[in-house]
Symmetry: C2
Subunit: 342 residues, 2 copies
């Protein structure tokens, strides 16, 4: 019997799930609206209903070996979501426990979305065969998943790898969503690029295609389109962004000397317009002993499948199993946290 | 038969070596002058002679299980020293091979001095039982050894963990010995503190005990002594240094979320005068989810023993063994590099 796993990607808007085989084929997938369910138990019930339907429709009832879930602030050690910025279910959500319980004890593993992306890349994508690499997701925010010695880095508390929040500007840095100032994310996320565009529009006097747009509505996609159309300021915005990324990457390389830094997410699709300044700034700033060693690569996963694939990669090593206790005590006695794993 | 290992610490001036038991007792130690030998083979011959004498004198001829060596730019994967800044033996020195050969095939392992310090701390010191920590050595330079999941981080090329060379000042940073500008080492090494003192003496007008000294001769020890004596500017120099360290530590924590950052080396002995500003800057700058989690600790190894202990800790896992080939081919056919190890 061929084994399969389920990958679930919980985003602020949609929860996408799919059934994946050992070669990384997404055999079937579907989604539900995340925000429709104010109560977490209702959400899990709906997820269970729709995912069960998908499993049954594909005749895979007894073939699912594990479920991997990528979720914002998902914690690998505890199986919880902790203080998620965009989910309504409270500060500590026992995700692995509830999902495993709903599915009769199937093993479940949880991590954050960037870590899931790194696992997906290592299992099915550009990082196959690599033991040391860093995944950087350039989306609404900047996330990261770090692999060292072939293992994802979870750190002492399960939250390691927040490279979107290293400080790239010590003085007069932009305010970041995390409450601090000068974070990489405040400059190099899609939102950061839009902020740079607004700053450049204010400070610079040259004409620009971007001036045709209401300044508050400029998006990173607008900047990309204008740059491709030859707009000088827009090209400079990408140079500014890429330079900051390349400088930050130089410091990351001083930490773990990875074979590659792999970019994923909307901004990563900008191609050379972003990659060129990244590589130039990296080469200029990297510690001499590491020069020319770390490749800057783009994710090889199809974007529509990547989130599910990444989460599913975790399904192969899922260990947490909900086991029912004596019913009388069940409500009064909270379930123990899943075992911490090395 | 109780097993023992040998630790060798190769410094620019002295090479210290000792015999260590499984509990971290240095049973006997001695040293030779590193720089006395312009030819590497002469150096190894002298090292072999003196270390053999020590082993024999302690009746441990067949009890040495392995030899661990800490050396500047020592590479764990290849067993070589590569482009060492302060050694006269050329750009690629086959250290593990030559030492193993001299000792008739005893297993040898090599790493850099900061990594050796981290291993020593994990095996015998403040990091016993820790699986995730960062060792920072504050000496003439700033070095680091990173442990994740209980393993030292060597990276893709064996040189990972150069945290003395993350950039702490992006614009108008000080020139660093590595040829770049703004490195942590240029500010927070003993030499960096002395440079800060010279800058402060120039810029500031207040009286200071440091003004009694020729400005070019001020050392970090002078600054420490003056600060302890109540000198205001000297205390500010330590605040300045500690703040930069605390800010840099916040970024390191975003990478690997360690249980502790452990300080070693001359400057680390400054105590609260340095630790207080480090902790304050760390607390102010760390990403909220990590706040209060990472301890700042001092090394627990006796300084006179630490280098040998750290290197010896590597001896327990030494794998490289020189094996003699057919004599005729020996000179013409260079030895293969030791096996890369995970």
């Amino acid at each position: 019997m061929k084994p399969y796993v389920v990958g679930i990607d919980i985003g602020g808007t949609n929860t996408v799930f799919g059934i994946v085989d050992a070669r990384g084929q997404v055999l079937a997938s579907d989604s539900i609206k995340t925000m429709k369910y104010v109560d977490f138990d209702d959400y899990v019930e709906e997820l269970h209903k729709e995912l069960s339907r998908l499993i049954k429709a594909n005749d895979m009832d007894d073939k699912i070996q594990g479920i991997g879930i990528g979720a914002p602030n998902g914690n690998y050690y505890t199986g919880e979501i902790v203080n998620p910025p965009n989910l309504p279910w409270g500060p500590r959500i026992p995700l692995a426990e509830k999902v495993s319980k709903a599915f009769g004890g199937i093993p479940v593993a949880v991590t954050n979305d960037a870590n899931a992306a790194a696992l997906g890349e290592m299992t099915y994508g550009a990082a196959r065969g690599m033991k040391d690499f860093i995944m950087i997701t350039l989306g609404t925010g900047v996330g990261s998943g770090i692999v060292i010695n072939g293992q994802l880095v979870y750190g002492s508390d399960g939250f390691a790898g927040e490279l979107g929040h290293v400080i790239v500007k010590r003085n007069n840095g932009r305010i970041c969503g995390c409450g601090r100032t000068g974070c990489l994310e405040a400059y190099c996320s899609a939102t950061g690029v839009a902020r740079t565009a607004r700053e450049f529009m204010e400070i610079r006097k040259e004409p620009s295609l971007l001036r045709d747009l209401p300044v508050e509505e400029i998006t990173s996609k607008d900047v990309y389109d204008a740059a491709v159309a030859g707009d000088k300021i827009s090209k400079e915005i990408f140079e500014y962004t890429g330079t900051i990324l390349g400088e930050a990457f130089a410091d990351m390389i001083a930490f773990s000397s990875p074979q590659a830094i792999i970019l994923f997410g909307g901004l990563a699709k900008s191609g050379d317009i972003l990659l060129k300044p990244i590589r130039e700034a990296l080469d200029k700033n990297v510690f001499p002993i590491f020069r020319g060693k770390t490749k800057i690569l783009l994710s090889e996963l199809k974007e529509s499948d990547a989130a599910v694939l990444g989460a599913s990669a975790l399904g192969w090593e899922a260990k947490y199993r909900y086991e029912a206790k004596v019913p009388v005590a069940e409500e009064a006695d909270p379930q123990p946290a899943p075992e911490a794993k090395a």
